[in-house]
Symmetry: D2
Subunit: 496 residues, 4 copies
C-alpha cells in the first residue's frame, strides 16, 4: 500500500509515520497508558492481555488484508489520488459502497468475529453530508473540520471508532428529562477554543483498540437537548477516558492454557463501556455542537450505512457453515440427505442477508455533499434479517454438531496422561479423522453459538446498529403505504 505524502500534521495529532501492517498496528497500541478495567482490575497493557489480545488481532487483520488485497480493502481518494484503508475512506461512487460490503464479508470469513472497524467507517460517511448540511444552513465550518480529521486519520492510517449509544436510563424520557443529566453524553462547559464533555457510551465496539473515537448523539433530540447535540473526536488515550471491558460468554477461557477450548483462539470482538470524565475537545475536533435538529438526520444516515454493514455476519456465517460441514464430515454423515439439506438452508439464509445488504449498497445515491449513501429501506431489511437468521444458523449448526458440542471434555483432560489416550480413542469420528480435530471444530461451533463469538454473531446481530424494533420503525416510515393503497384501489376498481 503506497501512502501519499501526508498533509501537514494538525496540532492535535501526535506525529507518527503511517501504520503499514497489522503488526505495526498492534505496536501502535502499546504504551498508551489507557485506564482499562476488567473483572475488578486495572489492565496494565491491553496489548499483552490474553483476554484482550484476540480482539486486537481481529483489527490487525484489517490492516493485513489491505496489503494482501488492496483492491478489496483499500480505496483511492479521488481528490488526492491517495490510496487509503477502506475503513477510512469517504465513498465516492456506488462501487465504493458495494466494496465496503465485500470487504466486510471477507473479514468476517477471516476472523469469524467482529473486526470492529465498521462503526468508524460508517460514522465518517454519515457525518460527511450532515456536517455539510449544517454548514450550508448555518454557516458553521464543521464539514471542513471533518475532512481535515479524516485526512489526518488516513495519513497516519489510524483506527477510528465511533461512539453512539448512551446508557439512556429511563427509555421513556429524553436526555434532558432524565433525573441524572449524565445518562447521555453532553457538553458541560463551553470554553474559548473548545468544549468540555462528560458522560458515558455503552457497548463500544473495539474502542480500546482504536486510536480515536467519534462521539455522536444516539437519538433524535428536542430543542431542550441542546447540550446533548455534540459530535466530536477524542483520542482514545485521553486521560479523561476510562474503559470497562464487558464480559463475554466464556471470556476467561482466553486465560486458560492451550488453544482448543477457546474455539477461535486468535480472534474475538470487543465491547466496552467508556466513561467520559470532563474531557476538553478543541474546536477543530468538534463537528456538531447544539444543532439538535440535525441529530435525527445523523442517526438515520449512520444507521442506514451501519445496518447494511451487518453483511459482515454473512462472512461469519460462512465460517459457521464451514464448521458445520466439517463436523458432519468428521461424524461420517456428510452425504446424508437431511445433513446436506441443513447446510443448504444455512447457505440460503446467509445469502438472503447478503442479498439485501449489497442490494442496499448497489442502490446508493450521492448525498448533497457528494459522497454516496446506500438505500435505507433495504439496509433496514438486511439488518432485520440479521436479527433472525444467525440464530437459525446457530441452531442448525448445533443440530449438525451433535450433543458433544456441549458435553466435550476439556482440552486438559485430552492431554491427561491417565485418561487422555482413552478419550482420543473413544471420541474419534469416522476413520481417518482424529479426536483432536473433532474437538477443535466442536469448540469452534461452541464459540460461535454459545461462547465468546456468539456475543458478536448472535447478540450483537440482534442489537448492534439498533434492536429489531428500531428497524421495524424505519421500515414503517419507508413502506409507502399510501402509494401501495393506491395500487390496490386501482386494481379493485375503487374510486379514490
Amino acid at each position: 500500500m503506497s501512502t501519499p505524502a501526508a498533509p501537514p500534521t494538525p496540532a492535535w495529532l501526535r506525529p507518527r509515520p503511517p501504520i503499514t501492517s497489522g503488526a505495526e498496528y498492534v505496536e501502535s497500541l502499546r504504551g498508551r497508558g489507557l485506564r482499562v478495567h476488567f473483572m475488578g482490575e486495572r489492565i496494565a497493557e491491553p496489548v499483552d492481555h490474553p483476554l484482550i489480545r484476540p480482539s486486537i488481532n481481529a483489527v490487525a487483520r484489517t490492516y493485513d488484508l489491505a496489503n494482501e488485497d488492496p483492491a478489496l480493502a483499500t480505496a483511492v481518494v479521488g481528490a488526492s489520488g491517495a490510496r487509503v484503508n477502506r475503513f477510512l475512506h469517504v465513498t465516492e461512487s456506488v462501487a465504493d459502497v458495494v466494496a465496503q460490503n465485500k470487504m466486510q464479508r471477507r473479514l468476517g470469513q477471516l476472523t469469524g468475529t467482529c473486526f470492529q472497524r465498521c462503526v468508524g467507517m460508517d460514522a465518517i460517511n454519515a457525518l460527511y453530508p450532515v456536517t455539510w448540511s449544517i454548514d450550508q444552513a448555518t454557516g458553521t465550518s464543521y464539514h471542513a473540520r471533518l475532512r481535515a480529521f479524516v485526512a489526518a486519520m488516513q495519513a497516519q492510517n489510524l483506527v477510528n471508532g465511533g461512539a453512539m449509544t448512551d446508557p439512556k436510563g429511563d427509555r421513556s424520557k429524553g436526555p434532558s428529562e432524565q433525573d441524572d443529566p449524565d445518562l447521555f453524553v453532553r457538553v458541560v462547559e463551553r470554553r474559548p477554543g473548545g468544549v468540555v464533555i462528560r458522560g458515558a457510551k455503552a457497548h463500544q465496539t473495539g474502542c480500546i483498540n482504536s486510536h480515536w473515537i467519534l462521539v455522536m448523539p444516539t437519538m433524535r433530540l428536542a430543542a431542550a437537548d441542546r447540550d446533548y447535540a455534540i459530535v466530536c473526536a477524542v483520542p482514545v488515550d485521553h486521560p479523561g477516558l476510562r474503559f470497562v471491558v464487558g464480559r463475554q460468554s466464556c471470556d476467561t477461557r482466553a486465560l486458560e492454557r492451550g488453544s482448543v477450548d477457546q474455539g477461535n483462539a486468535r480472534f474475538s470482538g470487543q465491547e466496552a463501556l467508556i466513561l467520559i470524565d470532563d474531557v476538553f475537545v478543541p474546536d477543530e475536533l468538534v463537528f456538531m455542537a447544539g444543532e439538535t435538529s440535525y441529530a435525527a438526520e445523523l442517526v438515520e444516515r449512520f444507521t442506514a450505512f451501519h445496518r447494511r454493514s451487518y453483511v459482515c455476519k454473512t462472512g461469519v456465517g460462512d465460517v459457521l457453515i464451514g464448521a458445520a460441514a466439517l463436523i458432519a464430515d468428521y461424524n461420517g454423515v456428510a452425504q446424508v440427505s437431511h445433513v446436506r439439506d441443513k447446510l443448504v438452508e444455512m447457505t440460503h439464509l446467509n445469502e438472503t442477508i447478503y442479498g439485501a445488504g449489497i442490494a442496499s449498497s448497489y442502490e446508493s445515491r450521492p448525498t448533497p455533499a457528494g459522497n454516496y449513501q446506500n438505500d435505507e429501506l433495504l439496509a433496514n431489511v438486511c439488518k432485520h434479517n440479521v436479527t433472525r437468521f444467525p440464530y437459525e444458523l446457530a441452531r442448525l449448526a448445533q443440530d449438525l454438531a451433535g450433543g458433544l458440542v456441549a458435553t466435550l471434555p476439556s482440552e486438559q483432560d485430552f492431554a491427561d496422561a491417565e485418561i487422555g489416550p482413552l478419550l482420543h480413542r473413544l471420541l474419534r469420528g469416522r476413520s481417518g479423522t482424529t479426536a483432536e480435530d473433532r474437538a477443535r471444530v466442536l469448540r469452534l461451533i461452541e464459540n460461535m453459538t454459545l461462547g465468546r463469538n456468539a456475543v458478536g454473531y448472535l447478540t450483537e446481530s440482534m442489537h448492534g446498529a439498533g434492536s429489531p424494533q428500531a428497524q421495524r420503525i424505519q421500515i414503517a416510515r419507508q413502506m409507502q403505504l399510501e402509494d401501495k393503497k393506491q395500487l390496490a384501489r386501482s386494481l379493485a376498481g375503487i374510486e379514490s
Copy 2:
C-alpha cells in the same frame, strides 16, 4: 417509442408494421384462428373471451408501460441504436439486467398478476451465450440465426414466449427412457431445410397471448436424448399447435355479470398446455438440434435469469400490502399496533425477496457472447424466498382482512332490490367508507390469496422457474463448502 428502420423482413415473418401500443397489441392477436380449448369447448376468438381477455390485458400493459416510461420498459440496442421493448432486449450491461427487475416490479404493481413476458426475455438472453458457445465449438450458425430472430421480433415489436416444461411422465426416467416417446418434445423427422417436432409443453405462461414461442429442452440431457435436444421458434398461429387453457381457481367468475367479485377484473395470468402435432420448423428458426451436452448450460443460464425475474412478485406483493392496509383502514384499525406491525412484516418479507433479486442482477457478469448474466446463487436464493414469503404475506393479508374475506355475499346480492340496501348498511366499516369499497378490496384480497391471481402469486411462485427443491440443488452446487470448511479449519487451528 421511436422504432428505427426495420431490417429486411425474413421469409418466415409475416410482414406487418411494429406494434406501438397495448391497444394495437390486442388487435394483433385477433383473427389468428388459434385452436384454443377450454372447458370442453373450442374458443372462437380468445381476444373476446371474457375469461381469456384479462390475461391479454396484462400483456398489453407491457406495451403501454413502454410508452409511459421508456427509460424503464424499453432499452436501446447498442449496435443499431434502436429503442426496443425491454422484454425483447439482449442485455448489454449490468444496468440492463437490473432494469429488467425494476420493470418487472412495476408491472407487478400495475397488474397485480403475471404479465407473462419474462420467460421470452430470459429465454433469448440465455440462448444468446449458449448458441454462441455451440457455434464456437461445432461450427454451427445458431447464434446468427438467433440474432436474426430477435431482430425481427424487435422490429415488429412482438411477444415472444418461451416453452420449456415438458409433461415428463415418470420423473425417475429421462426423455428417451420413457415408455411413451412423446412425453418430451422431440424431433420426429429431419427434412432438407428443417425439422419436424412433436410433443407437448405444460404450464405455458401466456402462450396464447404470444406471437412466437421459443421451444427449449427442460433438463440436462444424455447422449441418447439427441432427438430431444431441440431449440427452435414456432409461430403461435401455426396450425400444428393446439392450446388447452388451464383452469384457475375462481376462473369462471370472469364470466359473471359485474366487476366486484372478480377482485381484479382487468388483469390475470394465463397458463396453458400446448399440444405440438408434427410441426415443421425451417432451419432459420432452429437454434439447437442434437447438441445434448449444451442442454444443461441452457437450463442453468435460463433458470439463473428466470429465478431472479420472480422479483415481479414483489410488485404483486406491493398490491397485496396496499390492499391489506386499505382494508385495515376501512375496518377502522389502521393505527392499531398489531395491524401496523403486520404491514411492516409484509413489507420486510417483500423487500427481502427484492433485495436478493436485484443483488443477483447487480452482480451480473458478461458472458463469452457479450451479453450480461446475473449471479446464479443469489438468483436461486431470490426464487427460494419466493416459494415461501408470498404464502406468508397472503396469510397476513387474510389476517388483516377479517373473516368477511371468505364469507362476503355476492355482488348480485348487494345489488338485490330486497336485501341489497340492508347489506350496504350492515357491511360498512368505519364511518366515511362504503360497503362497496370494502367489498372491492376484500374481493381483491380473495383474488390474490385464494382466487384467480393466487395461482400466480402463490402456486406459480412455488413452481415457476423450478420448484423449491430445484433451487436447493442449485444452491448446494454453489455453496462452496470446501472453501468454507477451510475457513473453519483455519480458525479452529486444524492442520489440513
Copy 3:
C-alpha cells in the same frame, strides 16, 4: 342409537320423531320455506341446490357417524341414561370433553371440510354454567330454560347452531355507541311473554342447515349495552329470518357438470349472513336478557370451548397430508427424501395442533354448574397454532403437488373427443396410474388450498372462534407474568 322416551314436548317445539340418520336429517330440512339468498336469487329449496347440498351432506355425516361409531359420536346423559348425539351433549366428565375433540378430528377426516356443528355444541356448554351463575346471583330461571331447550333438542335429535358474530361497524366503538343501533343484535321491544330482537349475525356457520340457532352477544358489554345482552333460541324457519349465503372461492364449480373439478364434490362448509327482522322470542327461549356483566364470561367460556374445537382442522389436515402423499406417489417420487421430509413436517405441525387441543380438553375442570370446561390457555394456544400451521401445510401440499395443481385442464377437456385421449396420455404420472386419478387428487389439493374448502381450512382457521389477535389477548391475560417474574428473581438472587 336408542333414544329414551322424550319428555313432554314444549309448546314452542313442533312435534316430530327424532332424526335417526343422515338421510332423515336431510329430509328434515326440506320444505321449510327458508328465505335464502345467493347471487341475486332466492333459493327455492336449499336441500336440492347443488351449491348448498355439499354443506348439508357434511352435517348429515355427523348423524351417520353417530350410528357407525356411537362410542365416539354419541354420549349418555347421566341424569336420564339417554344416549344423545355428542353435539347436543352437556359434558359430564373430562372424558366427555376429550371425546368431543376425537369426534371432531374424525369428522374432519371424513368430510375434509367444516361439518358446522361445533358452535352449537360449544354454545350450550358455555351457556350451561353462565345461566347457572346468573340465576344464582339474580334469581332468574335461565338455567332451567336452557336445560329444557337442550333436552328438547336431544329428544328430537336436532341441529342447534350458535350465532355470535355481529357486523360490528366501527370496531373502536361498542354496540350502543354505533351510529346505527342495528349493527349488533338487540332487543327492540319487551312484550309480556317475550322479547323482540333485531339485527344481523355474520359468518354464520351452517345456519341454513340448522334447526335452531342460539343467539349470543359477541363481546364484553358495558352497562349501556343492556339491550344487546340477549341470549335466546330461534327456530331457523322463523319468517323473520333471512339468510344470505357467503361466496366461497370456486363455489360455482358445484354447478358445473362432472365431479372432478370440484375436488371434494360431496362435502363443503357453509357460512351465511343472517338478517333478523323483529323476531319475537318467547320467554322460555330467552337465556339472558340485559345481564350485561355476564357477557364477558359467556364469551370467554364459549371461546375456550370453541378454540380447542379447531382440532377438527387436524382431521382436515390428515386428508391434505394423504392427498400430498398420494400425488407424490402418482408422480413417482414417494420415496425421495425431501418429499418424505415434507410429509413428516406436515404431520408434525398437524399433531402439534392436536396436542395442544386435546391437552386443553384433558385439563378440563368442573364448572360451578357441574359440566366440564376445558383449559383456556391451552385452548387459545391450540387455536393460535391453527391460524398458522394449516397455511404451512397448504404451502407444502402445493409444493408436493407440482405446478399442475394450478394449470390442469378442465374435466370437460379430459372428456373431449378430440383432445381428451391425448390429455389422458400425456398427463399420466408413473406407470400404473391414470391421469384421471392424478387429476382428482390435484383437484382435491386445489380445493383445500385455493378452492372451496380452503375457505374452511385456511381463512376460517384464521378467523373462526376469533382472529389471531384475540388469542394473543387471552394468552396475555393468562400468562401469569408475575409468577414467572418471581421464578426469575428467585434464581437470579434478586430480593423482591
Copy 4:
C-alpha cells in the same frame, strides 16, 4: 414422607436408612471416592467442588419438592401402599404419567436447569414392560430382578441414573462392525454369577450425582451384536468407573468470587463421560443379556417416555419468560406493545411444547406388564418442538434484554471502589430499580441463552433424548400415510 418398612436389603445393596431430604441427599454423595476428572485434574470431593455443586443442588431440589408437595413429587406404590419419590415410581395409571410431566415442569421452574433425574425414571418405566416381554418369551427372570432393584431404590430413596448413549464411532456402522469393539458398551466376559462389561457412555446426565446407573443399549441391534445387548445396574461408586465432566459454556464462572455473574449461581445441569473398565455385574443386576431383538423395543419405549419428559423445558422456559418480563420492566418498557407481544409469543411457544407433551401422557395406555406408557407420536412431536422453540424463546429473550446482556461489566467492576459507584449510577434502568438487580436478571438471561444453562435449555433440548432427525424418523414411522391416502382417495372420488 412416610416410607413403609423396607423389604430385606439385597446383598448388593449397601445398607443405609432412606434419604429424607435434599440435605441428606447431598450428604449421601460424600466420601464415595469417585474418580472424577475435570480440566486435567482429579476432583477430590465433587460435593464440595464449586463447579459441580450447583448440579447436585438441582438434584437435591427433587428431594425437597417431594417433601413440600408430595402430591406432585411422590407417588404411592399400589402393591405396597408405600409412598415413594415419583422419579422412582413405576406408573400405575394415566394420572401417574401426567403427574410426571407436571412435576418436571415445576422442577424446571424451581431450578432453571436440568435436574437430571428423568432418565432414570424413564428407564425403569421402559424396562418394566421390556423385561416382562423377554421373560414371557424366553423364560428369563429379568422382570423380577428389575422389580427387586426398583424396590431397593425406593426403599432407600436413591437416585437412579440411566446410561444409554455410546460414543458410536462411525455412525454408518453398527456396534460389532466398528474397528474398535469398545465404542459401544459390551460384555467382555461371562462368569458364573455375572458378567463383566467394558466401554463408555457419553453425555451422561447427572451420573456423578446418582447412586446407581442403569446401563442400556443405545440403538436397535443386529444378531451379531449379542455382546452389546446388555442392560444392567451398576453402583456409581464402583471402582471400575471413571467420570470425565463435560465442559459447559461459562462453566468456570462458578469458580469466581461473587454470585451475580453466574446468572443462576445455585443450580446447573451436569453431563459427563463415563469410562467403564471391566466392571463385574452380578446376575441379580442384569436385566438383559444378549436378547438383541428386544433392543429396539427398549429404545422405542424409553424414547417415547423421555421425549415427552422434555416438558421440563417449559418450566425452564417459564423462568426465561419471567426474566424477559423482568428486564423489560427494569428497562421501563413493560407496557410497550411490541414488548408485550414478544412475551405473548414466548408463552405461546412454551405452552405449545407443553400441550403436546401432556397430551402424550394423557393418551397413555397400559403395557402388557401393567405399567402405563405414553403416546409415542405425540411424544416425538413434543420433543421435536423442543428442538426448535427454546431457541426462539432465547432469541426473543435476548431481544428484550437489550445489548447489555452481552456487554455488561463484571460483578467485580461493579464492586470496584473507583468505578463501581459510577457503574451503579449509569447502568440503572427506570427509577425505582437498581443496577444490581438489572445486572442479576441480565446475567440470568445470559446464563440461559449463552451460558451454563444454555447447554441444558438449548443444546440438550436439541440432542437430548435423540437429535431432531431421530424424531422425524419416528414421526415418519407413525404417520399412517396409507390411512391418510385412503381418506384423500375417498373424498377425491378415486377408486382404490
